[in-house]
């Protein structure tokens, strides 16, 4: 089990807050492969600060430090344009003093678990507004200053997906058909903005008043803003909900709020293009996860089972292609 030393963490927080603190209730929340998330309280004379530590894995290379700093820069820039994000208190791309690069941010109270947001009674009222709220937030987010981000070589991401699929050992006519259709029907890149890259259920903190924070800026890049709208609508992120937008809402509400906030006109066909790409991406993720178990030495029934979710993506691809080519 990885550990975090509380003394250097207390120094980091004290430096940010300007007063000595005591660290309490340090608790690991999740261990993604690329980032750990820890929750803790910092107690000082004036009260208690509820905080989050996002930490790179121990022994990660210098490039991880650079992306961690970039993440912090983007979150501060998102706050500037009025998109809800946790307030960043401190960030470092160095291994010292915490053993890995990090961001310390304020903890935002709320729910991130999609099934609860989609089904619990306490969110029933706010659910109706979520699609429009997401549209407004994305509309602001796409006005962020993109100069901090490096340009993306593969704007449509098709080459990357193709390469991973080819190396995976899986032969899927449906994914192949989708990649072919996507390549032949690329939307024009009329506009490039900051793209969050993973804007969907699970990365949105929702409270009784709606979306309180957008998390996980690790995959942000410069690209077609419609990518974010399409990914939010990808069926796998609906968690069984009936609305096409995140399982909770309708395209019209998302698009109208987005257009109002951004001044960018939405072409629903381009969003559908990205939704299909998102479905292919999900299929590739299923294959990659299964291979961690099958060939990667990480034995896990959960990873193996995710491999069979490829059948869901192939079915969704089939339906989307039927709609798009009708």
């Amino acid at each position: 089990m990885p550990r975090v030393e509380t003394e250097p963490l207390a120094d980091v927080v004290a430096g940010a807050l300007g007063s000595a603190v005591e660290i309490r209730d340090l608790l690991r929340l999740s261990g993604g492969a690329s980032r750990q998330t820890w929750s803790f309280d910092a107690v000082h004379d004036g009260g208690v600060e509820e905080l989050i530590l996002r930490l790179a894995p121990q022994g990660a290379g210098d490039e991880v430090g650079a992306t961690m700093l970039l993440e912090a820069t983007l979150m501060r820039e998102a706050a500037r344009v009025g998109a809800p994000v946790p307030e960043v208190l401190a960030a470092s791309g160095d291994r010292e003093p915490l053993g890995a690069s990090y961001i310390v941010m304020r903890r935002v109270a709320g729910e991130t678990i999609a099934r609860k947001i989609l089904r619990d009674e306490q969110y029933a009222e706010i659910r109706r507004d979520l699609a429009a709220q997401c549209g407004e937030i994305l509309g602001r987010l796409h006005q962020m200053d993109a100069s901090a981000l490096p340009p993306m070589a593969d704007s449509y991401q098709l080459d990357g997906l193709r390469a991973v699929l080819d190396g995976s050992g899986v032969v899927s006519p449906m994914l192949e058909l989708a990649l072919r259709w996507l390549a032949r029907n690329r939307p024009p890149l009329s506009r490039q903005t900051v793209v969050h890259g993973d804007f969907r259920n699970g990365n949105l903190v929702v409270g009784s008043d709606g979306v309180r924070a957008v998390l996980d800026w690790e995959l942000a890049h410069v690209g077609d803003p419609m990518e974010d709208l399409g990914w939010l609508c990808t069926r796998a992120w609906r968690f069984g909900g009936s609305g096409p937008v995140g399982g909770f809402g309708d395209y019209d509400d998302l698009f109208a709020a987005y257009e109002k906030a951004s001044g960018i006109e939405v072409d629903p066909d381009v969003v559908r293009w990205w939704e299909l790409l998102g479905t292919v991406k999900w299929g590739v993720i299923c294959v990659v996860q299964a291979n961690r178990h099958l060939t990667g030495g990480q034995r896990s029934v959960e990873l193996a089972a995710i491999g069979r979710r490829l059948a869901e993506q192939e079915y969704d691809v089939l339906n989307l292609l039927e709609e798009l080519t009708a």
Partner: protein, 108 residues
């Protein structure tokens, strides 16, 4: 009666879901749920897998290819570019059959 492979898999699923899961909590309970779901996939594949494979072979024959590798190669080189509607119609039965094995709840 001599239990079939599908019946054995179903028996294991029942044990995992009804007896083991309630006795566990946290991560192990979740992993057991996943394992029970995997046993259900096995049961369905042992029962319906041959039919799904036969459906798929039939589709490949209609499309004039021997196997998935050949189909994928034909799609990639553009040989199938004018036949999208035909391809989707031919592949639907096996795509749905695979989904019914992997996760019938997903069928919309």
């Amino acid at each position: 009666m001599y239990p079939s492979a599908a019946q054995l898999a179903e028996a294991v699923e029942g044990f995992l879901r009804e007896e083991l899961m309630p006795a566990l909590e946290g991560r192990l309970q979740f992993q057991t749920l996943v394992a029970a779901n995997v046993m259900a996939i096995l049961t369905r594949e042992l029962t319906d897998g041959p039919r799904a494979a036969a459906d798929h072979q039939e589709a490949l024959a209609v499309l004039g290819v021997a196997d998935d590798e050949e189909l994928v190669a034909a799609i990639r080189t553009g040989d199938m570019d004018g036949r999208m509607v035909e391809l989707l119609a031919a592949l639907r039965p096996s795509v749905e059959a695979n989904l019914l094995i992997a996760n019938p709840k997903h069928l919309a």
